[in-house]
């Protein structure tokens, strides 16, 4: 096992890793920017080293400073958390070169997953379903007909060079195809100077469902079930849960097996997340993989009892998957609400001085936070203030537990998204499990009227 580990992150995830290290008897070194001098990850670590001014680019993202800190503290491992350097293949390489274990997959795998096109191609080759499409530019009308026939309607025509809705058309019937193809080309030409378009199957009412995976350094990979992350605002997850209210057991197992096989093929190790879109018919399509621990990992920890961060560290130290994770059993239902320092209606960030802070407790409640009464939320980093995770024997109990926990969560001095979560939790469609990735936009547009 490692003797001493540097945590190259801040906030709640730095504390999360710190707790895992303490439980494993590993000495901890944290790094911090000048804005985090009074942060809890600094206070609770065995050693803490200031690595730069508040701006991330000069501190938490500054590889030479982080590596220098690791060297002067003489650590034998680095945990990158999420964000910052966690999916930076160069950083993982520098760690390797410096003989410091990087808690994550190999640099090669990080790099592959970072190039989204390549990741999709590799995962398709490894057996995962991806969104069917034209495999590049569709040259003419005949080709468009062929593609439409092959992938089936409805399809989406998109400008190859563009974005933002221009040169984009949805085709639902055969009759619409050729006119839409022509219009899209014309629009693309006008907007982007190139008439090139490609075609992709339209995913209607998509749900974002992701699989938590874990691999050791001996080629073994397993999955720990899925998380439903459809509640998003501008592609930022807001609330996550496990299991998904819509995935049936055969699909869960089938996709899970495909995921494990695919990752075994690419030599995946450590924790990771494989993200899918699920269409209204129940088809699942791989979209991307996150090669790191994720914000929402506690949801899986609550339903499986597996400590994912400790597992990451133990397996990076060479332990085998079967001894660390064992046979995964799922129990009950867990929900996570991300409490951000944001105005719950306008989503304007609300950094500042926290004047009152009281977290809920009691059965089935977990809070991961680095905030406290009298702390400062600096304006330089992301706005996550706390993760509130509730577990129940079923989804209904998890929801009622989350509701009462939100009511018992007091944060003053800054604005938070707690009121937004209260609204989500009391929405009948959410309670019924009926939602997709557009749910939150709809909820918010109703509000603004």
């Amino acid at each position: 096992m490692f003797r001493k580990l540097l945590i190259a992150n801040r906030g709640e995830i730095a504390l999360r890793v710190l707790c895992a290290c303490k439980e494993l008897g590993i000495r901890t070194v944290t790094v911090y920017s000048e804005a985090d001098r009074h942060a809890l990850h600094v206070l609770f670590a065995d050693e803490a080293i200031c690595i730069g001014p508040p701006r991330s680019s000069e501190s938490y993202l500054n590889i030479p400073q982080v590596i220098s800190a690791a060297e002067i503290a003489n650590v034998d491992a680095i945990h990158p958390g999420y964000g910052f350097l966690s999916e930076n293949a160069n950083f993982a390489e520098v760690c390797e070169a410096s003989h410091i274990a990087f808690i994550g997959p190999s640099p090669e795998v990080i790099r592959m997953m970072g190039e989204k096109d390549r990741a999709r191609a590799e995962m398709r080759a490894a057996g995962l379903p991806i969104i069917p499409g034209s495999d590049g530019v569709v040259p003419d009308e005949d080709a468009a007909k062929d593609v439409a026939a092959e992938i089936g309607l409805p399809v989406m025509i998109k400008a190859a060079e563009g974005g933002g809705g221009r040169g984009m058309r949805v085709v639902r019937t055969k009759r619409e195809l050729i006119p839409a193809f022509q219009t899209a080309r014309t629009e693309a030409q006008q907007a982007f100077g190139s008439p090139n378009v490609y075609m992709e199957k339209l995913i209607e009412r998509p749900r974002h469902i992701e699989y938590q995976v874990m691999g050791d350094r001996h080629g073994n990979v397993t999955h720990l079930g899925e998380r439903e992350c459809s509640l998003q605002r501008r592609h930022q997850k807001v609330l996550e849960e496990s299991p998904s209210p819509v995935l049936d057991a055969p699909t869960r197992d089938r996709i899970g097996k495909q995921v494990v096989d695919a990752l075994r093929k690419v030599g995946y190790s450590s924790a990771g997340t494989v993200e899918f879109l699920r269409d209204a018919s129940g088809q699942m399509y791989f979209i991307e993989m996150n090669a790191r621990i994720q914000v929402e990992h506690p949801v899986t920890e609550m339903v499986t009892g597996v400590d994912l961060v400790k597992s990451q560290i133990r397996m990076a130290a060479g332990e085998r998957l079967e001894n660390v994770v064992g046979t995964v059993k799922h129990h009950g239902h867990a929900i996570e609400c991300r409490v951000n320092a944001e105005d719950p209606e306008t989503f304007v960030p609300s950094p500042g001085h926290i004047t009152a802070f009281r977290v809920p407790g009691g059965p089935g409640v977990r809070v991961d936070t680095a905030a406290y009464a009298d702390a400062i939320v600096p304006p330089y980093y992301d706005s996550l203030v706390a993760k509130l995770i509730c577990h129940g024997n079923d989804r209904s109990e998890a929801i009622s537990r989350m509701s009462r926990s939100l009511d018992g969560f007091i944060v003053e001095g800054i604005k938070t998204t707690i009121p937004l979560h209260r609204r989500i939790l009391s929405d009948p469609d959410f309670v019924a499990g009926k939602f997709d990735t557009h749910f939150l936009d709809r909820l918010l547009s109703v509000q603004s009227k």
Binding site: E34, A35, I72, I376
Partner: protein
Amino acid sequence: MDLSEMEHLLAFMEQHGLEEFEYEKAGTHIRLKKATAHAATAFRHVPPMESIAAPAIAVPHPPPSFQAGGRERHAEPAPADDLHTIKSPIVGTFYTAPSPDAAPFVTVGAKVEPGQVLCIIEAMKLMNEIEADVAGEVARIFVENGSPVEYGQALFGIRARTGSTAKK
């Protein structure tokens, strides 16, 4: 009245441990006096570096327990007010001399000029020369040869020569 300007002044007061502040110019007169209780709070926390002060944010309070933490910390000497402090711009290992056998760049009492090398900080196998940014006399060396230093750590206290100003 511009309250954001007041916020600014208060931050300034906090930073410098002021209890009262009075200002008069061209018909404008401002007087601010802090409650003693809060002055006591200010007294407890580690002096922040200038660059910490974020405009949108009040002065960071340490958690009251900060002192209680049993964590190892690199010694943070409180530099005397009248000395100009040379701080480490990087994390690394501090060396007073270019090589183990060589004489130190400077010792206490040495006269220094802006641009003169004071020490080396090794980081990632690279030797980084740290230069004086003021003319004067080395009054204190805060770090021992071979010690690790963190970003912003005070290395030297320089008694600046009158009339000399720090480069920015």
